[in-house]
Symmetry: D2
Subunit: 383 residues, 4 copies
């Protein structure tokens, strides 16, 4: 209930504050037999890390992950995977004006009121730095999903009032990593980049949104109602810092569609299976996956840390004052949010794969490494 | 993980299918000492029940609740509250064409694929009939919240392309129950009613949305990240049948706002406390309540059960066929969804009130009834 | 956290007080396709019910179970199973002397102190009547286990200072239900019966213990440490009312054995698999099942309700008084505790079977009834 | 479900294998404002660490803890506390004979069968090295309990057939740390030491037991049944490596006591409150604390690693072989188990203190350090 645990069978537990000594997470419930090295995790961390382009914060964090447990000879062992990422470039000095005067629309006031204290340097636990843990965990989830033929990808589809046209999943995979904005439509990406730089120059920031899609999700994931795929995705995505909206399928547009328009008729697939003619339902029916692509959108508001003068109220002195949030901040969140959204999507799906028994909770069939330490004659998974 | 449990300290567990014998729910974690009778629960059930107007299904369910345990002399005792609601008017006959041929955009196919069977009469567990349990539980949650000065209300703010202008919380409380649509803006309600009837006449249905708001929520509810107020609200609302979008604060609009525009400066309240000048943040900062009203919106797609001819694929015969969904169905969901959204909002908030220690998990201070059976000299709550 | 929920994937949620209107439980996570009728559940309820012999309370409860949801045509559907058992013979009158003066060693004082109220008639929620729900749920768990070749049985192995010699699993199955004491060793059973009747006559009660054993449990259930089979069994058994000790394998005797004596060497089974030469380890090694029988013992203290004069302190009047607990009470608990211990063992094991993926969480392969509503081409469980 | 998480509101999540790089744990749910430094944790770790005497393993682990997050200026901040303890002296060489031939009564076979692999060096995750994490977490729990006047202590009360006479809580506190055996009765401790050394010399090991007691626990902790104090203590203690029995109050002796003998009459305390005349009930009535001392016993079997020749079955070669477990092992477990049992007792109690609202889940009233970053006008906890 402390907000640092996610998942039911594939469980992630995190720790760390923005300007503390280290970030870290523990994965419980990863089956044995998955090939896993630090490089696998690092690849996604590099997509999220600060300083990767001109439109991200310049804080210098290499975000090198160290796996402390749970693997042997390059394979997971079924035991908890502990990972630690050191904080290297945490300079807190510029936050001092805000120790007792909350930054506008930050968590400063709410944290201080809740806990009676807070790590005032850099947002502490409410900082998006926490998502480094999610991306590390998500990288493992993605590998597990890939072993079952599930792939997923996200890209930035809107920044301010610049929105991308619809692009195919193949295009997203091909192009979203080709530009700093992580928009899979190159022309729109260029326009977005310009817009972001304009706001950056005038000391402001801007909102945007991320489109996500998963393919290869088998029919039957999710459970009626509170554990429906959409409810769990809703929790996962709304946990992403700065998120103000979660949509799947038609999203908010669905309010204007009639039943006849939105309903997807059934036909037969080549294999003779019933399949929906279209996918206006977003891959989820009655809370359970239909086998069609699962897609949706997440809206992230503009970063609240801006070097523009804003009014705050100092509870120590009782005085109003004008302050600028000086620091190394992102002018826009979606470009670095793409791997975060992918991570939460992967963590949600892998959990359902385990819950549905489609992933063996104890071990994959992969060769678990150098020493053949396995033995299970009576284990049906072995047959 | 079976999708019938919600909440961490205030826990709701439900059972029942649309055309089964009874619906029921068990509340665990309700403190002792709350005044509670069946009438308290019935009031909200009546707002949700079928047959209440011309624009709801005509299924005749009185939805009479029976409390089986957890109260004594009109007060809760701190032990689990078991409630049962009989199903009285469950006629399944008309669903027979769809036993092996899924209704378009229903959960028929996904349920059959997941469980290898399903209650084919009337949607079974995926039916919105399940929400009778949520409303029953939510009624208790609302009473607990009210005892702490928290009130909440929802109304229908859009049907199809007819949307209501912004109305105040006072207006919502005053007017949302005055018309069948449950829109607090009377002129818009009339327009919505016309629109719904038009779709109803032509055998179609239409989507819409519900606005919700809570007032009096103290500063400090919620926890960093995965258990943030917004993440848990996201799960709660996305569990509502037919929901395709959840927004809080600016929602999807936030993508077009700059940081400067959206950030809320701080000033002092009359009592000398820091308060935000505006509430563009929707009452939640860093995942934790700011003391400002919490508000947002939920989009519900059009009902999928329509008496229009649609194509389905029969997996037994291997044939495509055209079928109409004959039955007693709602032409639009938001009017009956209003108490459901309120219930999920109440259940989420009451859970956080308990988690934060603001509600005593063991007992309220109310007089627990006729017999004075209490004794706790060493209990600090007693002092 | 309200004490009425057990299990992680096979989840039981209960409600009901001893002298309330009804008892009930909801099972979440039972796979679809299990043949299940009320008779299956009733058989175990009859073993637990009051009034079954001269050495049990004479309270007249038929304990008829009614299944409200989760089955269709005699098979489970994968959705929550709601069960209700009416209380028929709840006369509270004789508890009045104890409303504000706690019965010795009952939960009266602790409940009143915790909740500031209590169902003072007959123990309310702390009454062992609650275990009717456990036995109902356990009956379903046993059926699931049986479908995987796991069987389990308990019997009374000690009452007061009369203890039974070691009997084989086959003997337990054959004889434990042949006498009122539920001791599988007939001569000892007779001796126990005499002892119980002697205590009963003089208005006293006596303690005892129950031996349990499970066979056919596959290798590999349980997880390192906090979720070890022994830890989860410990919780399950210590929840049984009046339990003061839980032992598995050698139990308390282990403190006097050396490593060499207790260690079980390995040999090969006929199939060429490593198997322990003996089973001093009790079927659990490193918290995980070894494939050998799991066995242990539970100690239940003497019933606290006795018609002997005892001293209590009235917090209303401030006076000490001597009172007898008049009512219909058991002179000894283990005979009716046998099905309760079996139920908790079954619930624990079935949960681990689901967690290990050995039981498909969505559906068994049984034919799910009259209508062939199943469809899952892409579901590997179907292959 | 992966066995590395304990607690409901005070949550511990662990990682690490005996011969891996590091051990670690994350505490979620520790309120802000607790004074906490690494020294506080280290003190208990030193009581558990290897090499502390001639009757413990000689493995050279300093067990230095490093707190990575969750504190500031010497106080907890309410955010997750990440702790890491490096493994320094992990030499695995001598385990090679057992890679494919399981050590008798170890977890080697069950782990290999479950996961299809295992960290074969030194027991991996099933090693009692994991308990270093529990002791670290328990040290924090103890500090929280102490702030509420709750103290707890354990000592070794039996080794082999040498058992200590009953000693008072004051004696346990005064003497249990004065000798290597951690028995509070000095004469018995000397006898135990001799016995252990005798077994050690002949290459064998021996079992024993630990008595624990907690004082100052307020009335009203625990919940009816599944979350009763005894059930949760049962899980906690049975998770301790090598535990085969858990008893509280009279434990297994209760089977021979009559109701009249065991029942504790009520009298009035000096303050006029009802209190039990004796404490045969062990401080728990109806699953809820009575305000009396909570006491009980845990039995630990003899260490399974002994340098005596034992038979194992090699699944690779299909041959039986005689092997000795060469390594640095403890000849007896209770002396180092004392801080482990205390930790589990503390973790269980602190969780109930939070669940009952007696500990504020957000923050203690302590001054949270150098910067006065708190603000909560509307927070009733502040008043």
């Amino acid at each position: 209930m402390n907000g640092n645990r996610f998942g039911r069978l594939f469980q992630v537990t995190t720790f760390g504050e923005s300007h503390g000594e280290a970030m870290g997470c523990t994965i419980s419930g990863c089956p044995a037999g998955l090939e896993l090295t630090e490089e696998d995790v690092q690849a996604d961390l590099d997509r999220r890390k600060p300083g990767q382009s001109m439109i991200t914060t310049s804080r210098g964090e290499p975000d090198d992950v160290s796996i402390k447990s749970g693997t042997q000879d390059g394979y997971t062992t079924g035991t908890p995977i502990g990972m630690v990422i050191q904080n290297k470039d945490a300079r807190s000095g510029k936050y001092e004006p805000f120790i007792t005067a909350p930054r506008p629309s930050h968590g400063d006031f709410t944290y201080s009121a809740k806990f009676g204290t807070r790590n005032w340097g850099g947002g502490g636990r409410s900082s998006a730095r926490e998502t480094v843990n999610w991306v590390a965990a998500g990288a493992i989830a993605k590998k597990l999903l890939a072993s079952e033929g599930i792939e997923l990808k996200a890209h930035v589809n809107q920044i301010g009032d610049v929105s991308a046209p619809e692009v195919s999943f193949e295009e997203i995979k091909a192009h979203s990593e080709e530009n700093d904005v992580r928009c899979a439509h190159p022309e729109t990406a260029a326009e977005m980049q310009e817009l972001i730089e304009a706001y950056q120059e005038e000391g402001d920031s801007i909102g945007g949104s991320i489109y996500f899609e998963a393919r290869g999700v088998p029919v039957g994931l999710g459970a009626p109602r509170f554990d429906s795929l959409s409810a769990r995705l809703g929790q996962a995505m709304m946990a992403v810092p700065a998120t103000t909206a979660f949509e799947f399928g038609l999203g908010t547009e669905a309010r204007e569609w009639t039943g006849k328009e939105r309903n997807d008729d059934w036909e037969f697939s080549e294999d003779g299976d019933p399949v929906p003619v279209e996918n206006d339902h977003g891959g989820i029916q009655g809370g359970i996956s239909s086998g069609e692509p699962i897609y949706g959108e997440v809206t992230l508001h503009a970063p609240t840390s801006i070097p523009k003068s804003q009014q705050t109220a100092d509870w120590e002195t009782g005085e109003l004052k004008e302050e600028k949030v000086i620091g190394r901040h992102d002018p826009v969140l979606p470009p670095r949010g793409v791997p975060v959204v992918e991570a939460m999507l992967a963590l949600t799906l892998v959990d359902f794969m385990l819950l549905s028994g489609r992933l063996n909770p104890d071990r994959l069939d992969n060769d678990p490494g150098e020493y053949d330490t396995d033995y299970h004659p009576s284990n049906p998974h072995n047959e």
